[in-house]
């Protein structure tokens, strides 16, 4: 599964897209509003599911190499966050789903579609 596959799955709004979102694989999910926890997770090829719409959230996603970010609960990202996500080439989606419902939907999609390789 790729990050772009998540757009229909989550009925998501694309705030920031990147050329890599069609190709980079998604295998795991980290769901947290606590960036300290995101920084200690030992995973690759993951998406960050969060309701924290701050610049530091995008910086954290970049530094830990997240494939992309999903902003839940219909949170509207501030303009500075969108700009930063563009600068760092991190795709950013928004969904009206709750964090739990978004995780559930991604989990189901991972089971159905599995690894793109």
């Amino acid at each position: 599964m790729t990050f772009a596959n998540l757009i229909p799955t989550l009925d998501a709004t694309v705030f920031v897209s990147s050329s890599e979102m069609e190709t980079r694989p998604v295998q795991h999910v980290i769901a947290s509003d606590l960036m300290s926890d995101v920084l200690v997770a030992h995973l690759d090829d993951f998406v960050l599911v969060t309701s924290l719409a701050s610049d530091q959230m995008i910086r954290t996603a970049d530094l830990v190499g997240a494939t992309g970010v999903i902003l839940v609960n219909d949170k509207r990202p501030p303009a500075s966050l969108i700009q930063l996500a563009k600068d760092l080439s991190i795709p950013l989606l928004g969904t009206a789903l709750t964090k739990f419902a978004a995780c559930l939907a991604i989990g189901k999609a991972l089971e159905d579609k599995g690894d793109p390789a």
Partner: protein, 310 residues
């Protein structure tokens, strides 16, 4: 008396902090200090101070320190016409002392804390071996900094860094969340651009970001310096305070002093320092309350990495 220089990394050469921690008081102090005995009359103290141009004399017998007498004590004795009394009646008995093996930073913070012009220095056996003044410190600092300047000048002459190698310094400010993390993202991009292995980049980025955000969240500001060579990435973070009361506790997962506001921004879970340590190959921390915290981490670039990197 002139104040000691401001030792904040932003206003001083970056290596200053390293100098003041790696230099011991033994290297800075004046040895074989002129001393007097308890029964020496104040008139002798007056002559010694005048002849030797000193403003304070330790009272010691066979290396054992009994007190210290200053110019102020002498002036008081003069005013009261007590020139023939033994110095033991005029001296300060509760003397603040330093030890030979302490770092120079300790002497500097002691001078900042007390308004005395000099401190007796004792060895491990508590015997008087020297005396340290602000002048001694300043002379040492000037000499060491001159050495550093010479070293930097020769480094500049040899600078050739279009590739992976890099020396760069960033400044952080307290609670500046807008810019917090910029240093780490810049360095991460540099490493990615030079094809450093993804898992190594992640470790370096995490160590860097944890330390950078620690400075933004907890310190009153400081610097974060990167030295990238084909062998390793070295990150040196230095802040101007307030310092960490208990370093062992700060290295314990879950221990935090962050407030709710910091936590609402997604930080302050008490995982930063332990996480930076976890992802690093070498980790060094030194902190002194009211002075600041220095952390140095090194992450080695392995052999395979060296072949890939350009």
């Amino acid at each position: 008396m002139n104040r000691l220089p401001d030792l904040s990394p932003e206003k001083s050469p970056l290596t200053l902090v390293e100098v003041i921690y790696s230099t011991t008081i033994r290297e800075v102090m004046s040895t074989d200090p002129i001393t007097v005995e308890r029964n020496t009359p104040m008139s002798t103290v007056q002559h010694l101070m005048r002849d030797h141009g000193v403003s304070g004399l330790p009272i010691a017998e066979e290396g054992r320190l009994f007190g210290i007498v200053s110019v102020q004590d002498l002036i008081e004795a003069l005013q009261q016409g007590k020139l023939n009394v033994p110095v033991s009646t005029c001296m300060t008995e509760r003397v603040v002392t330093l030890e030979e093996d302490m770092p120079l930073s300790m002497a500097i913070s002691t001078f900042s804390k007390y308004r005395f012009g000099r401190f007796p220095v004792l060895n491990a056996a508590q015997r008087l071996t020297g005396i340290i003044s602000v002048r001694d410190i300043n002379v040492t600092l000037v000499n060491r900094l001159l050495q550093q300047v010479s070293k930097f000048e020769s480094m500049l002459d040899n600078e050739v860094t279009p590739g992976l190698e890099l020396n760069r310094v960033f400044h952080t400010r307290q609670h500046d969340f807008e810019n917090g993390g910029k240093a780490s993202t810049t360095i991460k991009k540099h490493l990615v651009d030079h094809h450093v292995d993804r898992s190594l980049v992640k470790r370096i980025a995490i160590a860097s970001y944890e330390l950078e955000m620690n400075q933004v969240v907890h310190s009153i500001g400081g610097t974060i310096s990167y030295r990238i060579t084909p062998d390793a990435v070295e990150i040196l973070v230095q802040d101007r305070g307030p310092g960490i009361e208990n370093v062992d506790l700060a290295l314990t997962e879950g221990f935090t002093t962050a407030n709710e506001w910091i936590k609402s921004l997604g930080f302050g879970a008490g995982l930063g320092l332990p996480n930076a340590k976890r992802v690093s190959d070498e980790f060094f921390i030194h902190s002194e309350p009211n002075v600041g915290t220095t952390v140095k981490v090194v992450i080695h670039l392995d052999k395979k990495q060296k072949e890939n990197a350009t």
